[in-house]
Symmetry: C2
Subunit: 213 residues, 2 copies
């Protein structure tokens, strides 16, 4: 009997689900492709038609993990929101997505983080993409006169430093009680209202910080 | 021959050094008190005269680790520095101490962090103490009119969120390139100039962030 026509996306999703079931039980182990094939009742050669290498499988799993984050970032960046709201939503929407996943299955969430640590070269591209989107929003804010006296790269670094507990998934877990939407809003406001390279103290009479370097 | 009079602090330091040598080589293992005694050419019963339990030894080691941090915090809190500079120094001096230790022996530094994770009940007290000192400075700033509209606890949480990469030793390592003194100064300025609970939008015409909660 001829094998029925199968939607490749359905097969891929079946393999992803099987992989999640395996790591959910056994932790951040290297996934064995033959075991994965067996879990889906497929031959190993059939699995390799979908994912020619184990690396290709990991990359596809990362892509599946990050897809909603990329969609959220693209939607926010291309929106007509005021720039302050845009930066808030840029972080808030991803924070919400991470929290939801953590709440659904905190152990699987942590296992994903460990797998990410082990395949950093795959994750790196997604972090660079997020930085690119963030640079777009920060650039927009600078055009409106925010972050006076700072270079784009410096403004990016500083915003990144100040929002870590809302971005870094491990910090988000550790600081669960305070890394809230409401506090994120206050932090974003502090960034917009307070982040600028100061004029010399003599110019405005303000107490400036001395940095011994 | 009568045993010569020995300074107990010298013996304790010798035991601490021996323990550091052991964990530096073997990682965050549970320290074996008889091995420690042997490393110092002491009898185990003699070691127990200094540290009656293994827990007492760990607590004393934590005390030794944190002593310079506490001294720095106390000095800053009791200083006559302007409050903004005070908050900066509160973080900057500890950041410098951590960086120095990390540079002297990064592996031992990381091992200390792991030991801290395993003896969290010992570390907790030091974190509470740091929070107490920080509350003193934040309270002082509030008396000067900063952080308008925020409760002390909320201001504390928010400052804590915004300075994590300068405080959390693991973040400090991960963000080594940007968690600098100069950036800390800009973050502290942003905190002082920008952190406040906003008046309703209608009152000042500003775009306020909407938080869906």
């Amino acid at each position: 009997m001829a094998r029925p026509q199968i939607d490749p996306d359905v097969v891929r999703e079946e393999l992803f689900q099987a992989a999640e079931d395996i790591i959910d039980v056994r932790g951040a182990i290297t996934i064995n492709m033959s075991e994965l094939a067996a879990a889906c009742g497929m031959s190993q050669s059939n699995v390799y038609r979908y994912f020619p290498t184990k690396e290709a499988f990991y990359e596809a799993m990362a892509g599946r993990w990050f897809a909603p984050f990329i969609a959220a970032m693209e939607e926010v960046v291309s929106s007509d929101l005021p720039v302050r709201e845009k930066l808030f939503q840029f972080f808030a929407r991803r924070l919400m997505l991470k929290r939801q996943r953590f709440e659904v299955n905190s152990q699987l969430f942590q296992t994903y983080l460990e797998i990410g640590d082990e395949h950093w070269e795959v994750i790196r591209g997604y972090i660079d993409l997020a930085d690119h989107y963030m640079a777009t929003i920060i650039g927009e804010a600078m055009n409106e006169g925010y972050f006076a006296g700072l270079e784009l790269d410096d403004a990016l670094s500083l915003v990144n430093l100040m929002v870590q507990p809302f971005v870094n998934p491990r910090m988000m877990i550790d600081m669960e009680r305070t890394a809230t939407d409401a506090n994120l809003a206050l932090v974003i406001d502090a960034i917009f209202d307070g982040l600028m390279r100061k004029k010399p103290a003599s110019a405005n009479g303000e107490t400036r910080l001395r940095v011994a370097s």
